[in-house]
Symmetry: C2
Subunit: 206 residues, 2 copies
């Protein structure tokens, strides 16, 4: 909503909130008014947390993950399988994989995908660091877990060629594709449906 | 998502964001990760704005509106019609009415609706202040602009009786009801539809 000049401090907060992803002008206004209805301590607590956030957060020197300690908890944990490396676009992707509970290897965060039109080439991603790790570490398998998008696929292809060229015999893999669990045929996009049909598996059991 | 211990500062921010209305755990996580991807100055600017917010915002001593100056811009503006008073639940309601551009009187913010089950009686709202204004000010019409909800209607009824008892000959009114402009019959709730039908108006022109 347009500022009315009555509440410049609140309007400044609303404007900043409205710049965040997924928060439109109406939500930002609602959030702003909610903030002034909260006990002052709660707003100040959020302010203090935000104030220190940028100084506390950095990147793991080994895997590129967002972390407050270097190396990060994943790289530091001795029980993790150091022969298995999962390459992801962003730290948040690793968090999602971690939540699945199905992975116990190490991560490597690229920091995005190749996107020549946006000026993102291999030098803008942590590709050199990935190759260094593959040369020196005891990695046997690399899961190229970039997103199943055009950019994610292109990045995975590029990395596959690069890693194959190393001639190190490292196994490369990519997440399986198909219908999501709990998905609905009607709401599945045509490409996924076609792929799921073409790569159908024999039913087990009897 | 469950905290992983890697980013306690970020997780604290995500937790606070997740307590705000309309921000679920997934949105809060996304927002948190977006915040750490921003230039530190932007996050710190938001932090500073939030830090001063609770100290800067107060209530207008005349109308109860959230404001940074007392009296607020509405009460202070000499061009506004002081014979017309619009009673709203919250400051944000007044902002919406103001945005419509159709109102040029003064406001009175109740600070909520009567809600006996939540312990909100007339003493918890700015009802006494409203009656004081009606006795002393030059008000000729009061628009009871509480929401068209059960609580809003009950509060409007209560105020109507109270103001009628003053015997001051003040005109009372309430917003018209019906189909919203650009609305769709199919998506209109039954009560609104029934009311719009019962209170239908003869078509003008020919």
């Amino acid at each position: 909503m347009k500022p009315l000049g009555n509440l410049p401090s609140l309007e400044a907060v609303i404007q900043e909130l409205g710049k965040l992803p997924g928060i439109g002008p109406k939500s930002a206004t609602g959030l702003g008014y909610h903030l002034v209805s909260l006990p002052p301590e709660r707003v100040k607590r959020l302010a203090e947390l935000l104030q220190v956030l940028p100084d506390r957060i950095g990147y793991c020197s080994a895997c590129g993950m967002l972390t407050e300690s270097d190396p990060c908890v994943f790289c530091r944990e001795p029980s993790r399988d150091r022969s298995l490396l999962c390459v992801v676009e962003e730290s948040l992707d690793a968090l999602s994989i971690e939540k699945s509970g199905a992975f116990n290897g190490l991560y490597h965060v690229l920091g995005g995908t190749l996107s020549p039109l946006d000026g993102v080439g291999p030098a803008e991603l942590r590709v050199k660091e990935l190759l260094e790790r593959l040369k020196s570490d005891e990695i046997k398998e690399v899961i190229l877990a970039t997103n199943p998008s055009v950019e994610g696929e292109a990045t995975a292809s590029y990395l596959r060629n690069l890693i194959a060229d190393l001639g190190s015999g490292i196994q490369l893999s990519r997440f399986a594709r198909g219908l999501p669990i709990g998905g609905d045929l009607v709401y599945t996009d045509e490409e996924t449906l076609a792929l799921a049909l073409q790569t159908r598996k024999p039913m087990e059991g009897e």
